[in-house]
Amino acid sequence: MKSLKSSLRIWIAATSLVGFLGGWGLLAHAAKPVPFENPPGITAPAPLPTLEPLPPLNGSSINLQPLPPLPSSQGAQPFLRTKGS
């Protein structure tokens, strides 16, 4: 039983070492990556056009109007007056 355990340990260590060295060798001889280049006929995308700001919708802006002098009485003044409080 003891010798079986020892043999198993040696077998696992040996196969791990062989696998590691094999993988290293395989990657070391693999083809190197090349930088990406656009295929012929394809150019970089053009920048998107910017949009003009939208004009205000009808009625959404308040114009402040200068008012002409207004009639302030037609004979007697009205009894209701609004003034600052």
């Binding site: 402040l64 008012l67 207004l70 009639p71 009485s73 003044q77 007056r81 609004t82 409080s85």
Partner: protein, 315 residues
Amino acid sequence: MEYHRFRAMNSDILLAAEGEATRLATGFKQVQTLFEDKERRFTRFSEDSELAKLNLSAGGWFHASAELFEVLKLARDYWEATDGLFNPAILGALEHAGYDRSMDEIRAHGAAQVATRGWENVPDFSAVRLDEPARAIWMPVGMRIDLGGIAKGWISEQATRELSSFAEACAVNAGGDMFLAGLPAGENAWEVALEDPRDPERSLAILNVGPGAVATSSITKRCWQQGERLQHHLIDPRTGTPAETDWLSVTVIASSAAAAEVFAKALLIAGSLEFNAIAQHNQEIAFIAVDDQGGLWGSNNIWEYLDVTNESVSR
């Protein structure tokens, strides 16, 4: 038209109504009592008022009457609608500017020449919490509010509604903040004179207004000397000091008296450079502003209310 005049909330109150004389007399009496009751609740000049008790409760929950809760809720809505230019939490700043006693007292004896309170930032009104089911209000420690203007508008509307049950048509004018119900017999509008903020004896225009509200805010009415400075009561919440504006007064026509009062105040603080943000978001109101040269400026929709029958006026 029958009239009844009295003084309340440091303002001249005028009631006008058409109807049967005995009923109108009863209505006038009831409305005067209504003003006196509401003034006791909303004044900041009495320690016994509900408003004063609310201000003392800052930092804890305050169980309010239905009326105070309703006005505070309106105030919060209008704080949002005016981008914070209407902010009832300006009381500390107002007192610092010298308005620490009633205007009647200031007119009789003058304001304190040295501020009785140190200057402080106007608190952020968004911190106020309202618990509607419990009708409870929470304000952060240090916040004190003044509901003077908005409460006066709200009360004039309540008073008009009460008076209208005794009259065919009626109007309540509380120091320039008015609410109108019905129309005078044979007329299609109420005529309201717009007072010149530079000369109270003069009018600048006649507004033809249907049932609804008209209110004016001005920096020339409630003003006083504090040391070498001429102060007024419209505090800009962004600076905590009396607003520096190129308009002397703004008059707003709106469907509710509280709205007319609040927007008149906010537009006046904003002035010609900043009015547009408020006006754009609240296009249901019409307004007319008077600049420091007496020039008149109006919103697009103000023409509906102007008397332009005189040939000298053309659009």
